[in-house]
Symmetry: C2
């Protein structure tokens, strides 16, 4: 998915938010805003949002010298989600269709996105909503069919905390899972450390994608990750950043997300607040 | 009030919104975004938001050649408010304290601001809320006292549509009123034409301020307006733009507004959603 003009103001907002989380003073915040404007000014219009976001968040690191501005927020999110894990597991085990419930809960967890808002609100409310909300795009039937005939699955995580909901879904899936994480800290996206804190290492093999983009730009990932991605019989890709980078990455990819911004809403064809399980299209442009 | 860093993303958002209202294609919208980033990059940090906003909206006019992008929206707002005028008048005449009610209603009308959001929602709901909501800052007592001893009043309008609520307040005031309007179209701020459409000419003398800023930057106004402003025994200044430019313009100025953005909230010391009647401080910086 290419950048929309509405992303421009949003990148400035995100740059400012990250600068503050990194502890930057006003001069440093201004410097990051100026760098962000330079990035946006020189932009290739075919660029996709996670490509730009990595540049913006690198500007934060360069100007404010913080390696992980969202560290505290991520830890807090993971702790918060872990307190809900027993309830999440119970909802799944009590369900008539455990895998469907687990998929919905994994989508519920996608609310924990600090790229879009500063606070993602009440988790229990979100769970209650997503458990009963009709899908705006529902390719879960095909996803389940492909899982049932696959020998393993690649699961691309998104935000810290959301990882705990992913863990519950992975527990519900019978085949081995490789769990892809960001190679370096960016936004509140999960790295290996964050995934381990959520206990993902107890249910899956964690694999760093080697990249600092808040999404999965396969060309920017490590060779090892790229090979795993290409060979995976089925890929679950969580969240907006993965959708932005993988919406046309092939029919083995299924994006699970909540639509949280108007730009994604327009691109995907579902309103803000929607829940989506969408099989990606096939295109060379990614 | 000087610009805050949070205004940067907001100006890009506003530039994009105005470009679309002006009917600009995607290339023109991008050109306006780029001009806006150049404006922001070269900014004097002491600049105040309406100073910058006029440059941004001039960029829209230059790139898209539209003289009044908000013309249709303004006319619609005025029509909508005029349908409520009989109710507004009745609320005032039925009130135990007509002037207090009229002040509250004038503040209620300040919701009609298309600089902050694309749609300002339900007017009747806003009226209901503002009629009973406690003031976050309440200098109405002093305002009424100064009106009672003044021989005339300068009333600085803000948005089209809100003008109708202003008209009702002016009808409630016993002294002659000069109604200041923007000299040129900017955002959905009222010009002479918009004020006449709201019937302001039937209750006050309309005076253009000669400026294209969405606020009142006295140094950028016509000499005639500046003189009227200086000599006025009391000034009512409506809305955020007038607050941003007149918050320290002297103790004869009273800002009546709804707090609609976090930056104003921080500057004025009242939360978003608050209603305010605030006497300006005295300072040479405006």
């Amino acid at each position: 998915m290419k950048i929309y003009l509405d992303c421009y103001p949003c990148f400035l907002r995100q740059a400012l938010s990250a600068s503050r989380r990194a502890g930057g003073g006003e001069h440093q915040q201004l410097a990051v805003l100026k760098k962000t404007m330079t990035i946006l000014d020189r932009l290739d219009t075919g660029a996709n949002p996670p490509e730009i976001a990595r540049l913006v968040h690198n500007a934060v690191k360069q100007e404010i010298s913080s390696t992980d501005p969202y560290r505290e927020a991520k830890l807090e999110s993971t702790k918060q989600a872990l307190t809900l894990l027993p309830d999440i597991r119970q909802l799944i085990s009590n369900s008539e269709n455990p895998i469907d419930t687990a998929i919905r809960l994994a989508i519920a967890g996608n609310i924990m996105d600090l790229g879009v808002v500063e606070n993602f609100g009440d988790l229990k409310q979100t769970i209650g909503r997503v458990l009963v909300q009709p899908f705006a795009i529902d390719h879960t039937h095909k996803l389940k069919e492909m899982i049932s005939s696959a020998d393993h699955l690649l699961y691309l995580g998104d935000n810290a905390g959301e990882t705990v909901f992913d863990r519950a879904l992975i527990e519900t899936i019978d085949i081995p899972v490789v769990y892809g994480v960001r190679g370096f800290p960016v936004l509140n996206d999960a790295t290996r450390r964050d995934a381990v804190e959520a206990g993902i290492d107890t249910v899956a093999t964690i694999l760093s994608n080697g990249s600092d983009a808040p999404g999965t730009i396969v060309e920017l990932c490590s060779n090892q990750f790229a090979e795993v991605f290409r060979k995976a019989p089925v890929v679950i890709a969580k969240g907006q950043g993965n959708y932005e980078s993988l919406s046309t990455a092939g029919s083995h990819v299924f994006c699970l997300l909540q639509v949280k911004c108007p730009v994604i809403a327009e691109d995907i064809g579902a309103s803000v607040g929607s829940i989506v399980c969408r099989r990606s299209a096939v295109s060379s442009s990614g």
